[in-house]
Symmetry: D2
Subunit: 331 residues, 4 copies
């Protein structure tokens, strides 16, 4: 971003605004998100239910839509200004990946639709509707949009999305070059391929990551992540998941990459959800050099300590696909 060519960084994208996931089991998915990890339901319309964590300020950060198969609906980004929105739309159109404006949805105004090179649906927007706190949910902690829920072990805010891509490099370059994301960390294999990339527009290590889809599929979702900020809450919710029969795929543990205390679970609709248990590390250096993990460092990068990732972690995404023959995690 702060390239050797002296160009200044782009500050046009501000944040991950929301994600939409698809579920064939709306009841199960809502039970997971509302009763176990404490999301709040804001509104319903048609086949969709709009949810947010108790420290999310907007109308929703998760839209759950009924579908025949699990997967990604879309990812929405908010820009830093109306002008920034116009600039980025122009850049997307120049890149040939734009799909045009739509008139908005519950919770936000008009948005510009586009796709990543891999085909993941995204949108860019400026106008958002803030959550309107009902009287009984108001708190004296006035920098919190509502009271902490008394259900389950409630997450605090949306954190990031992780997408599978047939070509990591192509997709992350689209984000850096066209949208102004910074590459924070990546994985470089000995065969020259980039196996993963973590990018952000803020001091977070990532609001989005791309990981190589070893099934060769395009446009799939790896996971959506909500944030606790405290490691104890991973133990608390792991305890509950084990009791109610939610499959913990991996964790709690600590990634080397991003230094995140992680846990991965599969929600009843089939989508993978990550729960993030601490602050990770934050990047304030405006001239950050991406951290590249090579194969010989990768074990520690994937798991710094704690629970390993099963092979499935590197194959399963939504929508699920048939895997013709067993792929290898280290291919």
């Amino acid at each position: 971003m702060t390239a050797g060519n002296g160009a200044e960084p782009i500050f046009d994208v501000a944040q991950l605004a929301h994600a939409e996931i698809l579920t064939p089991d709306m009841e199960g998915t809502l039970w997971f998100f509302k009763e176990l990890i404490g999301l709040e339901e804001t509104e319903r319309r048609g086949d969709s239910v709009y949810l947010r964590a108790y420290e999310d300020w907007y109308h929703h950060t998760l839209k759950v839509t009924k579908a025949s198969r699990p997967g990604l609906g879309h990812v929405a980004w908010r820009t830093t200004s109306p002008q920034a929105l116009e600039r980025r739309v122009q850049a997307i159109e120049a890149a040939g990946l734009g799909e045009g404006w739509h008139e908005g949805d519950l919770g936000h105004g008009r948005a510009y639709r586009f796709r990543t090179p891999d085909g993941h649906p995204m949108e860019l927007l400026w106008e958002v509707e803030y959550y309107r706190t009902p009287a009984e949910a108001k708190t004296k902690l006035i920098n919190r949009p509502q009271r902490r829920p008394l259900r389950g072990v409630p997450v605090r805010r949306i954190d990031h999305v992780n997408l599978l891509a047939s070509d990591v490099t192509q997709n992350r370059q689209f984000l850096t070059d066209v949208l102004g994301f910074r590459l924070r960390e990546n994985i470089q294999l000995n065969n020259g391929k980039e196996a993963g990339a973590w990018l952000s527009v803020s001091p977070l290590v990532h609001e989005i990551a791309f990981m190589m889809d070893q099934t060769g599929s395009r446009g799939r979702l790896h996971h959506v992540c909500y944030w606790y900020g405290y490691p104890q809450h991973l133990s608390d919710i792991a305890d509950i998941f084990s009791e109610v029969g939610i499959k913990i795929e991996a964790g709690p543990g600590k990634h080397g990459i991003s230094q995140a205390m992680f846990m991965y679970v599969i929600e009843p609709g089939g989508n993978r959800v990550e729960l993030f248990g601490d602050a990770g590390y934050l990047i304030f250096d405006p001239d950050w050099k991406p951290i590249t993990w090579h194969e010989e460092e990768l074990d520690k990068g994937i798991i710094w300590f704690g629970s390993p990732l099963p092979a499935e972690f590197f194959l399963y995404g939504t929508p699920p696909v048939e895997v013709a023959e067993p792929a290898h995690a280290d291919d």
Copy 2:
């Protein structure tokens, strides 16, 4: 910042680069920072010792300089680009608060000196020297600049500075209007005065705060803050402080303002140091409306739960001043 007038936000200041504090007791101050909270010494020159936390990437984040009285040396900010540096220098000069360029110091290149309206010395810079990790301190966690120290309960990185000011409004306006900081939270008294303001250039609630100096003094330091990120470490270091006789002024506890798990101690040189025990909350909304705490909400704002702040917290700063007559915390 994202004012109703449609002007775009300024993204020219990137981060708190380092702070300099003055100490009449160099040995005691170094014992505190190195042996108890685990800072690493990078270098010494003249009357100064340069320190950093183990997750700080630059040459130093704390410069400790011998002096007859404790207090603030200066605060240094890094810009987002060389061009941004030039722009902000022009703005400072236009505001009449510039003092000119100096040729740099250990750990960074040339820097532009200026003062806040209250007289706190500051500097703005682009060129920094990164910490060079000695072989024995290298870690396989390659996104961490060195191994975690085995001494005391080591902090992870610098977080923010808090300055006392004779006029909070004037000083925070200088930061927002001239340097592009965003006002995140503030305290508005019934008498119309602003008693405190928390500002940032990143999703952190603050890299800097101003609090009203009730002694009427100008340019004093309230505290420098280092960050743990985990609440347990506040208990751990509190245990040690109580054993070795370091005065814990307040905490562990949780502020309403900024939602920080805090602890305040006075280091042997006389300066107040805050240790920050969790992630607080982060602000990603590019159109953030400042949270204003009025007098009737202030109790919860100051202490959401846990240890109260003693009257001294609102009076003591460095250098210390004679207090003619007892001021009241709620004046």
Copy 3:
């Protein structure tokens, strides 16, 4: 207990079985215990509701009974065997403090009633009824009697009771000499009076404490304590208490005495409840010499770090009494 005279220790009392508290606000008290700190209701009869924490194995550990004023109903101890019960009943009768057998209550068989010298009602019993887990609450964690509740921030088990006494020494000697408790820690004032005593029949520092009642009253309750075991949960529930308006009297903080991470709140019925946030320390030494805190050590004994105790902590108990003139915490 392991007295210099060579007598062997008594092992006849095994544990705190349950406590009964009185409340003038049954609805409020149940809301507090069930919705906020997650107790489970087992049964109701007459004016009483029987509750237990999710890791309590018996029918109940808390009996809440409607009354005109808050206070202590009784404290029940389980012996280590039927024979031990008989021996202790004889000892109590010999001490002249017995009141006789009663036919039991929901959750346990016949019990022997007695009073402390100060008049606190107690009972001793052997036969207990175990909690019968309904199918939907069964967990694969078979050493846990039921699933962790999804309501509030649930406590795990009863920990101890703390009683106010007009004469600490007399009451704790009754427990050590007649019932076989061990004195673990106490407070010795310069005027020769014992201001507090912590006693146990297990490695816990206390299942019961006596503190001097500075109002001169007899037989009052200071608090009942439930146990979390993790410090984070004190922050979690403090957050909730602050939001819903439950008064946090003190904490989270750490006592020197017993090394407990504590928090004290007043439940809506008026009784003080302590929530214990870690493991404290455990005493395995069979020849333990009581730790005596003298006045010059007492500040650190009461608060090792964190939130101080307000004057009210040393005066308020249930039932509340009129305090003719302000007593001093350090009298």
Copy 4:
């Protein structure tokens, strides 16, 4: 223990006093225990170094002795009284497993030597020497024998030993019948064999466990465990282990059995060490019915959540033995 036959429980053994381990790498072993997990060295004599954690009250809880191979030196238990010692010696002699009195060691008086049926060397003693705190280590927290060390991430006290046994049932019966231990939890295989047993003389779930030695060896050590009491410290020390190259065999994670937050590492001398990160659960019920894990429940019993145990966990012990053919964890 509280058998249906109406016999009263035995209360003669009070606690695990200390363990002795053998090391072929004294320097490495001491570096691990002193610099990383913060044990204090009390004394040296001959080929042995005596260590204790900062909350251990006696002269030592770990004796490290130079030897050609790693393994168990012995395990020492303290009785609840001198009379209890005599009673248990008689019982051991009656069982034919006694080896006679020896005149004591640094840190304790005369001790009676015996072996488990599997051959693990043990001793029983009453007279102990308390740690004498040097002036500079004294703390105002007078219920703590010394200040918390500033080295590494210091453990607080010894917790338990885990021994491999060719016949679990025979060994645990020796402990329950002859020494008065209570069986708390065990594993019952479908083939009728008992694969593990956890026993204690206190509310801890275990001061000792036996696990089936799948290599058919006798008298081996599986691990010695020290206790942190806080989950965060497992993350802290895991971070350090990963940096300095200490192999983390498993964890952090949570066992179903004993509900312990665990981590297992191999110290440089080759012995496995467990670090215990929370309070687990405590057993106060004097009539406790052992929790039996059958094969169909065993997965959750071994790992409730987090890091799985590698096959090696079930095979490796000290001294190491040649494994003729790969055994299976689930044999």
